[in-house]
Amino acid sequence: MSDSLKRTPLYEIHQRHGGKMIDFGGWELPVQYTGIIQEHHMVRGKAGIFDVSHMGEIEITGAKAQEFTRYLMTNDVTKLKDKQVQYTLMCYPDGGVVDDLLVYRFSEQHYLLVVNASNTDKDYQWILSHAPEGIQVANVSEQYAQIAVQGPKAQEILQKISDTDLSQIRFFWFEPQVKMAGIECMVSRTGYTGEDGFEIYLPAAQAAELWEKIIEAGGENIVPAGLGARDTLRFEAKLPLYGQELGPDITPLEAGLSTFVKLDSGDFIGRDALLKQRENQPMRTLVEFEMIGKGIPRSHYEVYKNGENIGYVTSGGHAPTLGKPMGLALVQSRWSEPGVDIEIMIRSKLIPARVTRGAFYKRPQK
């Protein structure tokens, strides 16, 4: 591996646990430990622990932090209460996406944004370039390690080493001060796997200690999981990935994320373009599809209808829980209805597929 790759505070741990390290957007991170599929099933069935320390953290503070954050985001952060988390997007004036992220509200004057690792510098510069007098923007990514514990047994495992009743943290809420194994952490009930679970933020220096304590508390019920499983889990749950479902040339409305775009409650960057797109209907729509013929659809494969190229696959692959290949594609909107037969170009052959809806993984309700 090149020396220029960045390492998280958990690098030594990954080596010790047999993690197979890869270059992930400039970070040296484990793609898997024992195997992607096994790790995937463990997270769906029990629990997995992920190092997500590469994620970026940007702090916005100041008397008018709320107003400013609202102006940056497609979602309405003014709806948040203290200790609440929101999924949102930041757009360019033309409606393309700068990044998708989580906003944590500590108070009306203090927000923490958790952004995609490879976008951290870009996001920071973007936010800084719009910040008015009296707003402080700080890239605090280096200070934090982040550990995600995901799966139906996540709460039970973490409760053993936690001083706080974790059942009191609801989905998309957080507690800024939780002691885990004696270590001061911030804990949110969030994740990127489609399962129940938590994301734990803590000082980089203590990350390795907490990781081992969680593994110990979890015993047979937890395994370390790598980026490979993180991707199959998020994909199977139809959670978007920046660079695939989202990007500067794809708007949130095209990506089917209009729930997170509040066009009727205050101005924000990109609003005019998105209002116009809503009126005219987007030309492209993100669809789910399943394969009828044999083959595995992959990112960037072309999609055809009646011999014409109508779009491309954004994410695709073998969905381990569903046990079959699935895909997401950005296609011309007129071909986006469930039941429409399409074809995927796989190695110069057109393979039949069909647009579906609701076929992706949903966590069973308790």
């Binding site: 591996m1 793609v31 599929i37 490979g228 083959g295 381990p320």
Partner: protein
């Protein structure tokens, strides 16, 4: 990593077992290990005429797509259809599971292949390159 001593090897990590003018083709332990969980195998057509160096099959893991090349020219006599339903067999027993059996046009082509010793050395070098 296993490298059986009764087989020949390519630098694309295929193995070949030679029985007279029949060549049995598969992928090595190194190949399956580096691919990770294999979830799809596309086999050659039965009776197809294939040429030395041609991609005759595709093996896909969760993360990667890899072509399988034949190091010999000839006709596809047999394919391992069980891989279509159970591609993971290639992870479990790479040397028990063949991809195809080829009737060779020119059995002298196998002279170009690596011996087990050469292949083991080759893998060590690759490991170093991959870090």
């Amino acid at each position: 990593m296993k490298v059986p001593t009764d087989l020949l090897y390519t630098n694309e990590h295929e193995w070949l077992k030679v029985e007279g003018d029949r060549a049995i083709l598969g992928i090595t332990d190194f190949a399956q290990e580096h691919l990770g969980d294999i979830v799809f195998v596309e086999l050659p057509e039965l009776d197809a005429q294939v040429a030395n160096g041609e991609a005759v099959a595709v093996v896909e893991s969760v993360k990667a797509v890899a072509s399988v090349y034949t190091p010999v020219s000839g006709k596809v006599m047999e394919i391992n259809e069980s891989l279509e339903d159970s591609p993971e067999l290639l992870n479990q027993e790479p040397y028990e599971q063949f991809i195809a059996i080829i009737e060779m046009d020119d059995p002298s082509e196998v002279e170009e292949l690596m011996t087990p010793e050469e292949y083991e050395q080759f893998c060590r070098e690759q490991e170093q390159e991959l870090g």
